[in-house]
Symmetry: C2
Amino acid sequence: MTRNANINEEALTVGVRPPAVILCEPQLGENIGTAARAMANFGLVDLRIVNPRDGWPSEKARAAASRADHVIDKVQVFDSLEAAIADLTFVYATTARSREVAKPVRGPDEAAVKVTGLGAEGLATGYIFGRERWGLNNEEVALADEILTLPVDPNFASLNIAQAVLVCAYEWRKTATSGALPFTLDTETNPPAKKEDLLRLFDHLEGALDRVTFFRPVERRPHIIRNIRNIFQKAELTDQEVKTLRGIIAALEGRPTRPRKDEAGEGTAGAVDLGAADDTPAERDGA
Amino acid sequence: MTRNANINEEALTVGVRPPAVILCEPQLGENIGTAARAMANFGLVDLRIVNPRDGWPSEKARAAASRADHVIDKVQVFDSLEAAIADLTFVYATTARSREVAKPVRGPDEAAVKVTGLGAEGLATGYIFGRERWGLNNEEVALADEILTLPVDPNFASLNIAQAVLVCAYEWRKTATSGALPFTLDTETNPPAKKEDLLRLFDHLEGALDRVTFFRPVERRPHIIRNIRNIFQKAELTDQEVKTLRGIIAALEGRPTRPRKDEAGEGTAGAVDLGAADDTPAERDGA
């Protein structure tokens, strides 16, 4: 696995008690493995299986789990769903079809909010997933507190167990870490430009355009200038980008540029002053 | 596929233009198929592939797509990523590792908001996914507007292409349908109880408990009553559930019950009046 050089620390740790994942009578060892792998991607580790058809342990499950051995090694096996959820305080039953069981129906995002809220109190929760072919029966659904269903296209609902686990685990982690991503745009080495530098860029560009009589008729100048400035404002330019653009304009003008501090009279006559920047890479001197 | 008897109509149609999914140099036909199936679950149909290693069409892809033939049949093949995204106006590059490419980094939920916002205007958007082993190179990422990454556990990041597609497609549909689920709790046939019926239930229960001198010492009666009422308020009882509870209490009291309108003097002496309800199922007569 490739590690990010600059991993966002918030994405590493989750401060709430994670939910368990309960597979009710899974038929294929391979599906137990892919479910374990889906869990591991989002930091879930507590996998419980009830009456696995092909028994346990399962080499097919371990193989399908890829590197999620830490989940496979800790799998707990139960002979009833009641036993599997005995120590939990709030449980979701995942189902694709509506039931006669009168329980609230939630999406994975709502379930994640509930589960992380309880997990923040140190309470144990869980998601139940049913058999490959026909899910859970009504008695099993009745053991849960609420029903969970995914917002699939009803015309093509065919998620397998691992996919349902994946989406639920994704929503859980997203909620538990408040959406922390493993990495983000690095604004330390790429700070956004200050408005004064942006205005200097505009002055530079508009001066250059004036010199080539770009604004015709001159009455439209304010309007066109607003449009042009808007382009660069939308770009949310960084310091370096402003410098790059100023170098571009100066090059097109045929004027030399040299980075220097704000002191009058120094350097090449007519050279474009790019502002107070000690670390600006040297720009190409114009003709 | 099992159709729900009462499908929530809002979950069926999506009113915004859906994004395209672009697979850049997919190595295995099977992964193209599983990606197509993931898309179909959430209503995406526009799949584009760039330089598939094993060519196209692919029987492995069709087999892995399961019933998503409608996606496989419409796959477009391109010989460059530039060509694949030429008609799009906003594109995400999905990557697990941070890059030297200075673009904003978004989660699948933020991306879904952006894409549905543009799709509501009829604008074409897309998500780019890279090769199985190493994703996208920097030049390919640079072609996109923003970077998308999933909030995985950085210690175990191993999502495959179809899984990344699945989560993005899930977020898209959830956002595009405002979270509409295929089915919800049916409150038409199971209406919530009105407060007056709830209070009658409380009066009934508390009267029964008084008669067996439940509240001892009597000074604690108000406190205990508040706790008991809280239990049933938390349960968000339906009409029918209130009736069921009243039947339970009456049975435990040893009193008969019979549904009748609010008229004094009719029916069995001491029978519990369950309130004005013509459709209450007959309760068992007490001893």
